[in-house]
Each structure stands twice: as structure tokens, then as C-alpha cells.
């Protein structure tokens, strides 16, 4: 997965001289997850900029450069440190086009590793997607596979609007997959049905796609047919794919690692309730992280917070038998 991210950035840097990278430790260090490994040697320090430790201005400088014709890729080292960028990303970048009546564009990408299950404790495990997805004007992307990560990141760089690009840390090395050699992109704003099924629609994104896929495979042995929808883009959300799936299965389980209250699951559930109510054969169910402030450090505490294949399988079984 991390290789897909790295390849996407490298190819975009090579393709378009307006693209540049800024962030903490992205230069000689190559990024703490090595997303920009070797870039400073290849592209030089004018395009691979090690910034001071100051997230608000990383976002603000990226925005200023974007408004002035560049295509910056800002790395926020951990999503847990992204809060100081709210002023620039939510307050400014998301509103620049609307607030200028279309006179300016803010084509920046803010990439950030997010998510838990990596012994990251409270401050290296957080999910931040709901905050950004609530802000029209921003696009929020959360790929699950190397193929999607590369294709979506390239689309994000080429997009004329600001994109928050969320990379689940646990997928970086855990998830492997085929990525074609030839040039391709994956469009922002399109969900994908990863597994077709007929009994229960499971709607999710990020790392949870893999746990849900494993659960779907296991349950197939018990003749429970799961349709797995990977949202891929969280905002603007592909409602049609979700609705079409639920119309087919009549049951919907929304799964995310992020905490439950105010999470994306509520939005998905509301869309289903509004647009597919007549097709439902059971309650729309959310399976999400618990409502505690963040993910604890000690292994049993972390495991209690994290969803896994067993928890997801149990939730699907309950809903299937409703």
C-alpha cells in the first residue's frame, strides 16, 4: 500500500511541475512512513520541502500556493496532529471557491496517515474523517487497496478542489495488491461494490473493507450472501451505489472504525432511510468504534476499541437473521 502511495506521488511530481510536496520530515527522512523516500534526491529540495513543525502553516502555505497556480501535496505526519489545520482546510480551502463565487480554485491535497490497530495509543490512532466530510467544498478520500490508493491519489492531485486524503496506517504494510504498470486513475466520488451478494449490504471504507471482506467470505460458507460496498470517497458520497445495493439486499450494515456518534455511519444510514426505506427488510445498523475519546494503548484495551472480523461477522449474522 505504501508503495502505491509513493508511486502515485512520484508519478505526479514527474508529470506536472506544478506539483510539490511539503511536510514534516518529508525530505532526507523520506517521511516517517517513507511515502516520499528518495524524493529529495530525485526532485530536489525546491519541490520536496521539509517544513518547520507547524501544521497550521503547512496547510496554509499549501493553500496559498494552490491559489497561486501550484498543486501542493501536504503531508500531515499523523492525522492526530491535523487539528491545527482546521482553520485553513475547513475555514479557508473548503470555502475559497464558493466564497469567491468561483473566481479562485484551491487544488491542494492534504495526505495524512490515520487509524488504529497499530499500538498508536490515543494520539497515533485517531480517525478524523467525519470532521472533514461534514464540510462541503472539501473532498475526502479513504482508499482501502493499493490499486485504489494510487489511482485515487493521482486523481486527488489533478482535482481542482481541495482533497483530504486519508491513508490507513495499518494498511501501509498489511495490505498488498496488484497495481498495473500502466498509467491509470480512479475517479473521486465513486464507491465500488467489492463483493456482490444478496442478503445484506455492508457499507464501509478503509481498513474495515478488509475485515468485512474476510467476514463475507466466512459467512458465505453458512449461505449468508454479503454485498460489500467500499465507499472509497467519503465526501461527496456516492449515494447511488449505496442505494442500489440496499434496494437489492433489503438490509444494511454500516461499518467504521471511527467512533459511533456523529460518524459517517449516521450519514449513510440517513441516506438509506430517506431514499431506500421502502426496500428495507430490517433496521439499518451501525457497527462502529466505541464512544470513548480515542483508542487506548495497551493491547487488550486497543483490541476492545478496534473492530475485527469476528465482531463484524456477528453483526452481519444478527442482521441477516432479522
Amino acid at each position: 500500500m505504501i508503495e502505491a502511495v509513493r508511486d502515485a506521488i512520484r508519478e505526479e511530481l514527474a508529470r506536472d511541475e506544478r506539483v510539490f510536496v511539503l511536510g514534516e520530515d518529508v525530505g532526507r527522512r523520506g517521511g516517517v512512513f517513507l511515502a516520499t523516500d528518495g524524493f529529495i534526491e530525485e526532485f530536489g529540495e525546491n519541490r520536496i520541502i521539509d517544513t518547520p513543525l507547524a501544521e497550521a502553516s503547512i496547510a496554509g502555505i499549501a493553500l496559498g500556493a494552490a491559489l497561486n497556480g501550484m498543486r501542493p501535496i501536504a503531508e500531515i505526519q499523523f492525522a492526530d496532529f491535523i487539528w491545527p489545520t482546521f482553520n485553513q482546510l475547513l475555514g479557508e480551502a473548503a470555502k475559497a471557491r464558493y466564497g469567491s463565487n468561483g473566481k479562485v480554485s484551491a487544488p491542494l491535497v492534504a495526505r495524512t496517515p490515520y487509524g488504529g490497530g497499530v499500538r498508536g495509543g490515543l494520539y497515533h490512532s485517531q480517525n478524523v474523517e467525519a470532521f472533514f466530510a461534514h464540510s462541503p467544498g472539501l473532498k475526502v478520500v479513504a482508499p482501502a487497496t493499493p490499486y485504489d490508493a494510487k489511482g485515487l491519489l493521482k486523481s486527488a492531485v489533478r482535482d481542482d478542489d481541495p482533497v483530504v486524503f486519508l491513508e490507513h496506517k495499518r494498511t501501509y504494510r498489511l495490505v498488498r495488491g496488484q497495481v498495473p504498470d500502466e498509467e491509470y486513475t480512479v475517479p473521486i466520488g465513486e464507491a465500488e461494490v467489492k463483493i456482490e451478494g444478496s442478503h445484506v449490504s455492508v457499507i464501509t471504507y478503509g481498513l474495515m473493507v478488509h475485515h468485512c471482506a474476510e467476514a463475507a467470505r466466512n459467512l458465505a460458507q453458512d449461505d449468508i450472501s454479503v454485498e460489500l460496498v467500499d465507499l472509497r470517497t467519503l465526501a461527496p458520497m456516492d449515494r447511488a451505489t449505496v442505494i442500489d445495493s440496499v434496494k437489492k439486499t433489503g438490509k444494511a450494515l454500516v461499518v467504521h472504525e471511527d467512533t459511533r456518534t456523529g460518524g459517517l455511519g449516521g450519514e449513510v444510514a440517513a441516506v438509506i432511510a430517506e431514499e431506500a426505506f421502502d426496500h428495507l427488510d430490517g433496521p439499518v445498523v451501525r457497527l462502529a468504534g466505541p464512544d470513548v475519546p480515542a483508542m487506548p494503548f495497551s493491547p487488550p484495551l486497543e483490541a476492545e476499541f478496534m473492530l475485527n472480523t469476528e465482531k463484524i461477522s456477528a453483526a452481519i449474522r444478527r442482521l441477516a437473521s432479522y
Partner: protein
């Protein structure tokens, strides 16, 4: 307009004065419209005109970039925004240039004038200006970016971050602080423990210059020098223009709660229009008659602008969902 480090000519000063008169006349009219219930809000440029116009004249409108502050009517007029356009904004009418009347007056963007992006959030323009300068330098342009902000914004964390980055990378930025001594009601001594914002410049490896912001010529010279430094690759400058705000923060503020009448009267004595007028009369560049003509012409232009705006309609709702995204995905009403 870029004349290096020499002072402005009499002719230039006269043009600055003409723009100051226009700005003051327009600003006063907007207050009147506010009190009539026609203009929802005004954050006045009165007292700040000399520093705003003096700085613009030292730069290159058309290629330099201007990150304005919310109180910068004189910057915009000096760059070429018309009084009619200004008035459409204050009355929130169709045809408003900077935001389609979505934002407060004078907020948004005016790319043709090099005015990039201004929201209502104090201080956010500072790192953006630094990013703009970074972009220009990456492309090998000799653009200078000036970013205007108040003494209140100097306390915002992003101000520090922006100046630090600009210093590290020696970027062509002019940090232009319009220090009027008050952030709404909070006075300087509660805003900072030093006398001058410019004192911080040393910590960012850039020169810090305090200038009398009521003296258009002095501001012109300081800004010219900063622009020359920036264009020759010697990095940013922090200019602190000392000005007076003798009106409330905005039309929604009541400054009697925190300032006494004597203090405001003293501030009025530093009216930049009066200072420049006396200088121009003294040097014979301006006559009393010519001054009256300038004011009469300003009143005529402002009358026209007011009529234009009052006869314009409000924006229609057809475009309400436009410009959420470039490709217009999302942003549509729920089914």
C-alpha cells in the same frame, strides 16, 4: 509605480491624496447607509488610508499579489476597484465582484487586481501569502506578496508560523501590520508585552520597521525598500505602520465601552488626510480650490456608486449551489 527607494514625487503624492479623499468620502457614505439600515456592516478604513495607499503605490499592481485585511478599502480602491463595485458589496447586490455578495463587503477574491483570498478569520491570510510567495518563486517570477493584517492578528499562532517559514526560506513577502492599537476593544498592552510588533522580526531573521502609518510618503518609502529587498532575493520584511482608529471597530461596535472621548479626539489629530493635505498645500502641489474640486468629484463618484448599487437587485437564487466544487459534484439539494 515602482520607483525604487526614492521618495514619492509631488505628483504621486497628489494621486495618493486623491485616492484618500475618494476612500474617505466613500467610507463616510457607507456609514450613512449603515445608519439608514441599508448597509449591514462596515469596518472602516478611516485613519488607515495613508498606509494602505502609500504601500500600494510602492508596489506593482498587476503582477504583485495583495493579501488584504478586512479594513482595507483604500488598498482595493488604490488597486483599481471602482466605487460602484465597492458599493454593490456593501449593499450585497447582484454583480458584486469579490464573492457574488456571498461574503461581507470587500471579502473574497479579485484576481485581476491581484487580490487573492480573504475570509473573515483574522490571521489566516498570513500563511497563505507565504505560500503564494513560495509558488511565485518556484516559477522564477519576481512577484512580491504583501499581506496586510492588524495588531490583533499578530497574536494569532499562524502569524508566527508564517513569518518563521518566510524567514527560513527568504521569501518575497512584505508583512504589513496596520497597528491601530486596538483589537476590537483589547488594547496593545494586553495584546503583547513589547511596544512594537516589529520587534519580533529579529526572531524571524528579517528586518522589522516601524513607520508612521499616517504619513503616506514614509509608508511609500518603507514599502519600496521592502519590495526592493524581496525582489532581489533578500527575503521578507515586517513593516509596522502606526495608525489611529478613531471610529469603532465596526458599525456593530460601541467603543464608548472601552475608550474615552479624549483619547479619540487625540487620535483624530493624526488624521492622515489632514496631514497630507497640509503637506501638499505647503509645497504648492495642491491649492484650496483644487482640494475642493477633488472632494466635489469624489462626492459625485460616490453618489453615482450609491445610485448604481441601490438600483441593483439582490442576487438571484439560481446560482446558490454554484461553485461548491469545480465539477459541481455534490453541493446539490437533497432529493
Amino acid at each position: 509605480m515602482d520607483h525604487g527607494q526614492t521618495g514619492p514625487s509631488g505628483e504621486q503624492l497628489l494621486e495618493m491624496y486623491r485616492q484618500m479623499v475618494l476612500c474617505r468620502t466613500l467610507d463616510e457614505r457607507v456609514w450613512m447607509l449603515n445608519r439608514q439600515g441599508k448597509a449591514a456592516i462596515v469596518a472602516s478604513a478611516q485613519g488607515h488610508e495613508a498606509c494602505q495607499i502609500g504601500s500600494v503605490h510602492a508596489l506593482r499592481p498587476g503582477s504583485d499579489l495583495f493579501y488584504t485585511n478586512y479594513r482595507d478599502l483604500a488598498v482595493l480602491l488604490s488597486l483599481g476597484m471602482t466605487p460602484g463595485e465597492v458599493m454593490l458589496g456593501f449593499l450585497a447586490r447582484e454583480g458584486e465582484q469579490m464573492s457574488g455578495a456571498r461574503q461581507f463587503p470587500l471579502h473574497g477574491a479579485y484576481p485581476k487586481l491581484g487580490v487573492v483570498n480573504l475570509s473573515n478569520v483574522v490571521g489566516t491570510q498570513l500563511p497563505q501569502a507565504v505560500g503564494a510567495a513560495l509558488a511565485s518563486r518556484m516559477r522564477g517570477e519576481d512577484t512580491v506578496v504583501i499581506v496586510y493584517f492588524g495588531d490583533g492578528a499578530s497574536s494569532v499562532g499562524e502569524c508566527h508560523e508564517a513569518m518563521n517559514f518566510a524567514g527560513v526560506h527568504r521569501l518575497p513577502v512584505i508583512f504589513f501590520c496596520e497597528n491601530n492599537g486596538y483589537a476590537i476593544s483589547v488594547p496593545r498592552h494586553l495584546q503583547m508585552a513589547v511596544e512594537h510588533v516589529a520587534a519580533r522580526a529579529e526572531g524571524y531573521g528579517m528586518p522589522g520597521v516601524v513607520v508612521d502609518g499616517c504619513d503616506a510618503a514614509a509608508v511609500y518609502e518603507a514599502t519600496s525598500e521592502a519590495a526592493s529587498r524581496a525582489r532581489s532575493g533578500r527575503g521578507p520584511t515586517l513593516i509596522e505602520a502606526m495608525v489611529e482608529r478613531y471610529l469603532p471597530h465596526t458599525s456593530d461596535d460601541d467603543d464608548r465601552r472601552y475608550r474615552n472621548a479624549g483619547e479619540i479626539e487625540a487620535a483624530r489629530k493624526r488624521d492622515p488626510l489632514r496631514i497630507l493635505r497640509e503637506r501638499l498645500l505647503g509645497t504648492g502641489v495642491l491649492s484650496e480650490d483644487a482640494d475642493e474640486t477633488l472632494y466635489a468629484e469624489a462626492r459625485r463618484v460616490v453618489d453615482e456608486a450609491t445610485e448604481l448599487a441601490e438600483s441593483a437587485s439582490y442576487p438571484g437564487l439560481d446560482g446558490f449551489y454554484d461553485h461548491v466544487y469545480a465539477d459541481q459534484t455534490g453541493g446539490a439539494p437533497s432529493p
